[in-house]
Amino acid sequence: MYSTKYVKARDIDDAVKALKSADDGKFLAGGMTLIPTLKQRLANPDCLVDLSACGLSSIDDEGSAIRIGAMTRHVDVAESALVQKAIPALTHLAAHIGDRQVRNRGTIGGSLANNDPAACYPAALLALGGTVHTQSRSIAAEDYFDGMFETALEEDEIIHAVSLPKPEKAAYVKFPNPASRYAMVGVFVAKFADGVRVAVTGAGEDGVFRAHDLEAALNANFSADAIADGMVSSDGLMSDIHASADYRAHLIGEMTRRAVNACT
């Protein structure tokens, strides 16, 4: 690991100030992505600004949505009675990220800021039509993701919280990579009064995306039978050592069927 400077910010203003005064600073949340990246010398920030003392860990009921603070850890979401009642699919998602030690550290804000193409929370944010709140603005999910590992966030923009609307029912099903537990394909299906939204992670060359064909099929008939074999095209899907684009296309159909059957 290259040498760097560590700063624990007292609050958000302090964190932004520390980042601005560094040449190439990085916010540090759970560190479950950032620290391994630093260990492999894939990044060389001159300053790490720890957000853990900024008071960003919270889960609140906002009526039609739940609001989760950026520093809320996966274990806290997985064990929250409020989340379990409002969006059980989210409890399930959080409880299956990585392993227990990753869940004891990793945060929802870190996951969304990082936008790994195989991460789970991006699928939830997009399928639920959520909003990302920063110190300066609120960004709708549709405008937030900007391709693999890219988001609408500016360098010194901190995610405070995310709001996730409560669906009528929803489910997240992933086909985990057997080594890392990241999604080889993960599908989040959410049914709202005004329609069904389907978001796919782990598969797209540009990261998470909405599967509009599958949404149309499920809007006509909300049943696993509505998803026919061959409905998903492999255009724009990743091919790598884990799976070909064709196999990923097949998995998207199958994970969607399973998610529809699992919807609660």
Binding site: M1, Y2, S3, T4, K5, Y6, K8, L28, G31, M32, I35, P36, L38, K39, Q40, L48, D50, S52, G98, D99, R100, Q101, V102, N104, R105, A179, S180, R181
Partner: protein
């Protein structure tokens, strides 16, 4: 260099360390506590698991500086004098280890798992140890050890 003060296995320690010191390097190199192992570079193997404020974490993936004021327990800190922790005793009696490289992490991970839920099914134990990789045992006797320890720990 920041000064880091923490409690390690019950003792207060204060050290000046470079900002980029990982907790596992702090434990192994600064403190000489080599029971905590490093098995991978990718945060996946769990050989380095310790407890921080009672929760299991991967000490290879956190800076010591992040833990100023924390209470850290390593594999060296769980026995009661000469009396092994029930989890250690169960691994010993059920042949839950072969080379022993993964064992400190397995034991620390399993202790938290059992402390949270003493009535674990075999499946829950296997899922609960997803963050620990063992290349020797095939996991069978590890699961048996954890089941045995859960009984000893009051399950």
């Amino acid at each position: 260099m920041p000064t880091v003060a923490m409690k390690v296995n019950g003792a207060n320690v204060v050290h000046d360390i470079p900002d980029n010191t990982l907790l596992v390097s702090f434990l192994r190199e600064t403190m000489g506590l080599t029971g905590t192992h490093v098995g991978c570079d990718t945060s996946q193997c769990g050989a380095c698991i310790v407890h921080v404020n009672g929760e299991s974490i991967k000490s290879c993936s956190i800076l010591a500086a992040q833990l100023d004021g924390a209470d850290v327990t390593t594999i060296e800190g769980i026995a009661n004098g000469d009396e092994l922790h029930p989890m250690q005793q169960a691994f010993h009696e059920n042949h839950g280890l072969q080379c022993g490289f993964c064992t400190p992490g397995m034991v620390m991970s399993a202790i938290e798992l059992v402390e949270k839920n003493k009535n674990l099914s075999e499946r829950e134990i296997r899922e609960g140890l997803e963050g620990n990789i063992c290349r020797c045992t095939g996991y069978h006797n590890i699961v048996k050890s954890v089941q045995d320890a859960a009984t000893r720990m009051g399950g």
